[in-house]
């Protein structure tokens, strides 16, 4: 990659921001984000990640982007997975083992239903916002 000038950097930021806002990178409208800090990996996030990819490949779902991120802060329920599907509320699942990962693809992404007992959501205390 060539070295950036100031103008290049600004252009890159703008383009990337747009891509992120649309939640769409190369025609992928569903995003699955796996928390892969040390805490997540220790709890089995790599198996979760593999299971997600395998199930998606098996189903032939090409519109789903699976990506990694750092610690989401919910260490009590690692591995954590955030699922963003258009037209559905964005939710965070906790304790996602390989079986739950398969459920997420089959039931949440394909079936548009939430999975019982595994939702951790965002901490509810965040309801206290700007005054």
């Amino acid at each position: 990659m060539a070295k950036l000038t100031l103008a290049d950097l600004r252009k890159m930021r703008e383009e990337k921001q747009k891509a992120m806002d649309m939640r769409d990178s190369s025609n992928k409208d569903v995003q699955v984000v796996v928390g892969m800090g040390t805490c997540g990996i220790a709890a089995g996030a790599k198996e979760t990640f593999t299971a997600l990819i395998d199930t998606l490949t098996e189903k032939g779902l090409t519109n789903v982007l699976v990506r990694q991120t750092g610690c989401m802060g919910l260490c009590h329920s690692e591995p954590t997975v955030e699922v963003v599907v258009p037209g559905m509320p964005t939710v965070i699942y906790g304790h996602v083992d390989a079986a739950t990962a398969k459920d997420i693809v089959d039931r949440h992404i394909v079936g548009h239903e939430l999975i019982e007992g595994k939702i951790l959501d965002k901490p509810s205390v965040d309801i206290i916002k700007e005054a």
């Binding site: 990659m1 060539a2 070295k3 950036l4 000038t5 100031l6 950097l9 600004r10 890159m12 930021r13 990337k16 921001q17 891509a19 992120m20 928390g35 800090g37 040390t38 805490c39 990996i41 990506r67 990694q68 991120t69 750092g70 610690c71 989401m72 802060g73 919910l74 260490c75 009590h76 329920s77 955030e82 037209g87 559905m88 509320p89 939710v91 906790g94 304790h95 079936g111 548009h112 239903e113 939430l114 999975i115 019982e116 007992g117 595994k118 939702i119 951790l120 959501d121 901490p123 509810s124 205390v125 965040d126 309801i127 206290i128 916002k129 700007e130 005054a131």
Partner: protein, 595 residues
């Protein structure tokens, strides 16, 4: 089939005990009769926090939040909210109360968790520089290199009120100013990522989740103080963080955001990694510098401070990971914005690694001035297993133990120091009544004795002596004179040790003596440990009235300490007993107890 709405019912322990399950059933029933079974899905979730207001019900996609929901309320929620789309105001969280909280804390945008340091953690892909750039990454570099002089950068940091998050809380801007004022020439910028407190992992998570923010901040600091070279001193026990830093450094190099002539500005800065071998003392700045130079990590007396004479005798600024993660945001949003968050003396937020006997352990970031009660009970979801809160430990082995009466103290550097603890790096360990404070103090002393470098006598000898006294007390051989001796040793260590490790090593003992003297006295006078943690103080006893003489316990006892004839009450020989508890577990009549 596609659902239009979702009802989330909190399935955390606290909510379940206050009727969560019945609420799920009620929703299923009411939705069925309203004909919405196929439109609305009801799910039980993990703990949503906010347990004191439970049971909690949240309706998505609107995000409406209902508190203290009773089975009788379900019908109304279904009829009003889900059928007619009208929010049931009476069950919403009382906004008046929320406003009151805002007024008390005097923060314009109060929220229990507020993410500055962790802004990108759990959001971006840490191995993609584009993700970071899209979230205003490397924007602060632009501003600093092209619009600000080094003096203006330092002024901005001073004005922001940012203080060192490694624990001591020295104003970051002051550090930078000292280094900047040194004559021109080779200077160094060092990031301290030698996170060693037991139970603390904020810096690891930050580096793993958002490595570029640290690179950007170090470059800004380098520009401000006139350094062209930076080192990140990171423990070798953090392989993932190291890997992500290496990837980040390489990507920044490729794009010309590190290296020669950054973005064509004429300013050059480069960063190298240095690995620590896990010595706790190397988190102390002078020892850390020794280690980077390739020497044995041992502290040196200050002054001269590193900002004057540091790495290879050159002016060096050392900042902690969390401190640095704040820097780009302060530059982007301005010092005024930053200094509005927090308390009078301590600005901004603090990241805590919340662990121990708490339901939702995890990585949290709260504005300074938040109380322990809010952290432990609102965010942490209360004490695990329905136990009672006993104390919280902040600051790791250098910190203190905070008892229940200070749960409502707003946290900042000064308030914690006043109650005998320290902010420390951000480990926050919660204890319940099954923990023994003497045992905890012993644990921390054991750690610091192990990690003391041995250079100065107060720390080397004092720590060992303190630990011996604590062992004596937990073994049931303590005397009241021991307490007096311990207090004297604590005082000497605190005043005479060379570095922060020794000066603060006695804090766990001092604070437990201050707040839990009665428990020490129980160990000494009554030879009793109320939590049952100190195994040498436990006594197993057989109640002769309940013992049927079945001989089960005598056969199970591995030490042959139980004797007695068949069908006659048995007895335990305390001298032989090894306190394994096998007898109590095996007795069918509940005749054996311990205390």
């Amino acid at each position: 089939m596609a659902y239009e709405s979702y009802v989330l019912v909190c399935g955390g322990t606290a909510c379940c005990s206050s009727g969560g399950e019945k609420i799920v059933e009620a929703f299923a029933r009411e939705l069925e009769s309203a004909g919405l079974k196929d439109k609305v899905q009801v799910v039980t979730t993990g703990c949503l926090g906010f347990c004191e207001q439970g049971p909690i019900v949240k309706i998505l996609p609107q995000g409406t939040f209902y508190v203290q929901v009773k089975v009788d309320d379900v019908k109304e929620i279904v009829a009003e909210h889900l059928v007619k789309g009208r929010v049931v105001q009476r069950l919403c969280y009382d906004p008046e109360q929320a406003k009151k909280l805002v007024a008390e804390a005097n923060i314009p945008f109060y929220q229990k968790q507020y993410r500055i340091v962790l802004r990108n953690c759990g959001v971006i892909d840490p191995e993609k520089i584009e993700d970071y750039i899209a979230r205003d990454g490397y924007k602060a570099i632009e501003k600093v290199l092209f619009e600000m002089t080094p003096e203006q950068v330092v002024d901005e940091m001073l004005k922001s009120g940012l203080r060192g998050r490694g624990g001591a809380g020295f104003p970051t801007g002051m550090k930078w100013k000292f280094a900047q004022q040194q004559p021109k020439g080779q200077k160094y910028m060092v990031c301290n990522a030698d996170e060693g407190d037991p139970g603390a992992y904020m810096d690891r998570s930050t580096l793993e989740g958002d490595p570029h923010s640290i690179l950007e901040a170090m470059t800004i600091a380098g520009y401000a103080i006139g350094a062209s070279k930076g080192f990140i001193y990171i423990r070798a026990e953090y392989p993932l963080a190291i890997h992500r830093l290496q990837v980040a450094i390489q990507q920044a190099h490729e794009l010309g955001l590190l290296g020669d002539d950054i973005l064509g500005s004429g300013f050059s800065f480069d960063i190298e990694l240095r690995f620590g071998a896990g010595a706790f003392v190397c988190g102390e700045e002078t020892a850390l510098l020794q280690s980077i130079e390739g020497n044995r990590g041992m502290p040196k007396p200050r002054p001269p401070f590193p900002a004057v004479k540091g790495l290879w005798g050159r002016p060096t600024v050392i900042n902690n990971v969390e401190t640095l993660a704040n820097v780009p945001v302060i530059i982007n949003k301005g010092a005024d914005w930053f200094s509005r968050i927090g308390t009078a003396t301590t600005k901004g937020t603090k990241v805590f690694a919340l662990t121990g006997k708490v339901n939702n352990s995890g990585l949290i970031e709260v504005p300074m001035g938040t109380t322990l009660r809010e952290i432990i009970f609102d965010i942490g979801g209360g004490i695990r297993g329905g136990h009672k809160f006993k104390a919280a430990q902040t600051g790791g082995p250098s910190g203190g133990i905070i008892p229940e009466q200070f749960l409502d103290v707003p946290i900042d550097y000064e308030s914690l120091a006043k109650i005998g603890s320290i902010m420390g790096s951000g480990g926050l360990i919660v204890m319940d009544e099954t923990d023994c404070v003497v045992d905890i103090a012993k644990f921390y002393l054991d750690f610091t004795v192990d990690e003391s470098c041995g250079k100065c006598a107060p720390c080397r000898i004092g720590g060992r002596k303190l630990l011996n006294y604590l062992k004596k007390i937990t073994d049931g051989r303590g005397t009241e004179q021991d307490i007096k001796d311990m207090e004297a040793i604590c005082d000497a260590m605190n005043k005479a040790s060379l570095c922060g490790l020794g000066q603060t090593a006695s804090n766990p003992v001092r604070s437990t003596l201050r707040y839990f003297m009665d428990e020490y006295m129980e160990h000494i006078r009554d030879k009793k440990c109320r939590s049952g943690k100190c195994s040498k103080l436990i006594q197993y006893k057989i109640d002769p009235a309940k013992c049927k003489g079945c001989t089960m316990c005598a056969r199970k006892c591995p030490a042959g300490a139980i004797s007695g004839a068949v069908k006659q009450p048995h007895a335990i020989d305390q001298a032989k007993c090894v306190k394994c508890g096998a007898c109590e577990a095996t007795c069918k009549f509940g005749a054996i107890s311990h205390g």
